[in-house]
């Protein structure tokens, strides 16, 4: 049992809200659900839609063709003709016309605002879900009386088409990737989140700002991204865990200080939520085309860690991990997401658990040297304010105490220290269980290799078409030996990614991993399941 539903309407008309409420209802009934949110960069008007798929099996993708299309305005009818199948059930605004469509009263609470209650009412009735299942959500809205009457009227205005039954008593949890990242960071010990607004990373800022008191953190929104990252480095230097969040353009502005983080060995987590570029591009749409930039950003040689979650659960886990890794190794850690990961709604099973690893701390004996040369390249940490010592960090090449050096031997010595640290990181990371995931049909000799938010759609297609899926979650240090091991006996390897120039495939080739074909999408939309399946079937 599964259905794919599109709800379209104007920005500001509560389309996203309707999608979220419906997802809540269906997840309460025990279903798995995935919601892709498609909206242009504007505040009111235009055309928004949510694409919702739910199923009794675990799913994490949507299809391009919908079983039900709910068009709350005339433009939505035209926009979604291409997404309809022959048997698609259409529900349109009572003021509009379309052959065979059900017409319903999509009422606004105020002019131009909130059609969500009416959409929910219509949709639940259509699916044969009892009115009571949606009521608590409606009653938690502002202007609840008005919303309730709109909801009831809408519910009663159409007839049942499907009969969706409760699947189990367990209500599934819903989470966006961004919420998962926020919570993961908090559970990894986040003290202060610093960010300048930028789609699609802003929801993390908003979520943390709203809940900062309960979560016990501080949230800062400074004047620009350069300030953001330098503030964060100050916070980490002073001994508190910091994290920043941005998208490609903002990240670009941070690259000077990224290199500082590498040189000064100051822990830092950067959440980079990719969107369709280059430049301002298509800012509310998705892409995976900042990959190579993130891997090599910053001048000079220094170690870094780059992690790429594929869904909300991995986002939670890797975000928490990112905080710990940054402090364990005193390096910048990039958490590389995208709009699809960040803003889609997932049914996720997350057991929140605080996990704050103690970093390597100074033992308090003798003189303190911030950049002490050690076997593993990692120097013990101490923080300003500690009695009898001074903690000196610097953007210049330096000696063990942190004083500038220019002498050839000393310069090489510190470069070697950081190379040593890179090796320590590599040895640790590539053995981590989660470095790569093997999914789909693990026995198959036909392989899809992909990364990030393609996880859901690729795994589903792979299961149906009998492909094995290899997906690295750690992109730097790159677990190439393990990938090669998994690929060894493959007869066919297909790459799947959202980048016009095929950045992921170029990364693979850097490690001698070749693919037979590369399926690229770069129109700002995620892969749809039916679309990807037919593309895969061509090979």
């Amino acid at each position: 049992m599964e259905l794919n539903i599109i709800i379209g309407g104007k920005a500001g008309a509560g389309i996203k809200e309707a999608g979220r409420m419906f997802a809540r209802v269906i997840a309460n009934l025990g279903y798995y659900v995935f919601v892709d949110v498609d909206y242009p960069s504007l505040i009111r008007g235009g055309h928004n839609f949510v694409n919702i798929r739910f199923s009794d099996k675990k799913i994490m993708s949507v299809k391009s063709k919908a079983d039900i299309i709910i068009a709350t305005d005339g433009r939505s009818i035209r926009a979604h003709e291409k997404d309809a199948k022959e048997d698609t059930v259409w529900v349109i605004n009572e003021k509009e016309r379309r052959e065979g469509a059900i017409r319903a009263p999509f009422k606004e609470v105020a002019p131009g605002f909130f059609k969500s209650s009416s959409v929910l009412g219509v949709l639940l009735k259509l699916l044969g879900i009892p009115l009571e299942e949606g009521l608590p959500l409606i009653l938690s809205l502002p202007q609840k009386e008005k919303n309730e009457s709109i909801y009831r009227e809408a519910y009663n205005s159409v007839s049942e088409v499907y009969k969706i039954r409760k699947l189990s008593e367990t209500k599934r949890e819903l989470l966006t990737g961004n919420e998962a990242i926020a919570l993961g960071a908090v559970d990894g010990g986040l003290d202060i989140y610093v960010a300048y607004p930028m789609t699609p990373a802003s929801p993390v800022l908003h979520y943390l700002a709203k809940n900062k008191n309960e979560l016990g953190i501080k949230v800062v929104h400074p004047e620009n991204e350069i300030s953001v990252i330098n503030m964060a480095l100050g916070i980490s230097y002073a001994g508190k865990r910091s994290m920043v969040g941005t998208s490609g353009g903002g990240f670009a502005l941070m690259t000077e200080a990224l290199s500082l983080s590498g040189m000064a060995e100051i822990p830092l987590v950067i959440y980079e939520a990719q969107r369709a570029g280059p430049s301002t591009g298509v800012p509310t749409y998705t892409a995976q085309s900042d990959l190579l930039f993130c891997l090599f950003a910053g001048h000079g040689d220094f170690p870094r860690i780059v992690l790429a979650p594929g869904d909300a659960e991995e986002a939670y886990f890797l975000s928490r991990e990112a905080l710990n890794l940054a402090w364990k190794f005193q390096v910048p850690v990039l958490l590389l997401g995208d709009k699809t990961l960040g803003e889609s709604i997932f049914t996720a099973e997350i057991n929140r658990e605080k996990r704050v690893e103690k970093p390597k701390l100074w033992n308090g004996n003798g003189d303190y040297k911030r950049y002490e040369i050690t076997d593993d390249g990692i120097s013990p940490l101490a923080f300003p304010g500690t009695e009898n010592i001074t903690v000196k960090v610097t953007s210049y090449e330096h000696d063990e105490r942190g004083i500038t050096v220019e002498d050839a031997l000393l310069v090489k010595k510190m470069q070697d220290k950081r190379l040593k640290k890179a090796e320590t990181i590599r040895n640790y990371m590539i053995n981590e269980d989660y470095a790569i995931k093997i999914e789909g049909n693990p026995q198959s000799k036909r392989v899809i290799i992909t990364w990030g938010s393609n996880k859901g759609v690729v795994n589903e297609v792979a299961e149906e078409t009998g492909y094995k899926v290899i997906r690295p979650l750690i992109l730097e240090p790159f677990p190439h030996e393990r990938i090669k091991g998994e690929i060894e006996r493959a007869e066919k390897v297909i790459g799947v990614e959202c980048s016009a120039s095929g950045q992921f495939i170029r990364l693979l080739s850097m490690y001698g991993i070749r693919v037979d074909a590369n399926i690229k999408k770069y129109d700002g939309r995620p892969f749809y399941k039916d679309e990807l399946k037919s593309l895969i079937e061509r090979y």
């Binding site: 505040i43 607004p197 789609t199 908003h206 929104h221 620009n224």
Partner: protein, 265 residues
């Protein structure tokens, strides 16, 4: 000599909210251009913008344009003017855009007296990013990044511009289109750096129509002398972008002639 009026509309879909202050601002600018077109050919205008709701204006107006980056329209404009001093270069920028991200460029454009015009769509909010506090938001502003109220007091951009050496400093209100049109015309005609802070209500995140309708008054209707720096500065301090109970002067605060950057560089 009457010049044929060119349509200034590109035909692109306008995606500002109904009643957004940007409409008034765009009209004022359009009128100003039509009037100026008597002496300045349309093709000599170049408009630029930052990123934000304000930025969309360059998609709508059919003049040469450079849709720049968030906060960066001003240096780009300086480059254009340096390369071709015959062009009339006007930047449409946002308050988040130029008072936060790009403040360094604004200060230096003023310092250099580069002959461009900067028009700030000052809605005192980050709107396109769905409503965070901005440098000119009042301290009680509850935005998405500051749901418990902004921890900062607003900046006074006019005071900063005067202190940075701007040779033309004005404030307009998008609700008084005709008055704004005159300011914009003067700003474009001014030889040197012209700065116009435009109070622009944002109906979605900070609807200030009532406030400005009630509190603004026109400097021309007082004995204000725009050639007097001290008076201009104290006028600039009259309203702190925070209080709602003081009068808000609009009009030309300051105007003085100085050699431009392009002449000196």
């Amino acid at each position: 000599m009457a010049v044929a009026k060119k349509s200034l509309y590109t035909g692109a879909e306008i995606t500002w909210c109904r009643l957004c202050g940007n409409f008034g601002l765009m009209s004022a600018f359009g009128w100003a251009v039509h009037e100026l077109a008597e002496t300045i050919p349309y093709e000599k205008f170049v408009i630029l913008s930052g990123i934000g709701c304000h930025g969309k204006i360059v998609d709508y107006i059919d003049l040469n344009s450079f849709y720049s980056l968030h906060g960066r329209a001003v240096p780009t404009a300086t480059g254009i003017k340096l390369a071709n001093p015959e062009l009339k270069v006007i930047c449409f920028v946002g308050d988040g855009d130029i008072y936060a991200e790009g403040i360094s460029h604004l200060v230096f454009a003023a310092k250099r007296n580069t002959d461009i015009t900067v028009i700030v769509h000052n809605n005192r909010a980050y709107s396109l990013t769905t409503g965070q506090f901005a440098p000119t938001s009042p301290s009680y502003f509850k935005g998405k990044s500051t749901p418990y109220g902004s921890p900062e007091d607003p900046m006074n951009p006019l005071a900063i511009m005067l202190s940075s050496g701007a040779t033309f400093v004005a404030r307009g209100y998008a609700g008084f289109t005709d008055h704004l049109k005159n300011i914009i015309k003067e700003a474009i005609l001014h030889k040197g750096f012209s700065f116009v802070d435009v109070l622009q209500p944002c109906v979605a995140f900070y609807n200030t129509y009532d406030l400005y309708n009630r509190q603004t008054y026109r400097l021309e209707q007082t004995d204000h002398d725009p050639s007097d720096f001290e008076k201009a500065y104290s006028k600039a301090l009259e309203w702190d972008y925070n209080r709602e109970d003081v009068k808000i002067p609009i009009g030309i605060f300051y105007r003085v002639e100085k050699p431009t950057y392009e002449e000196r560089a």
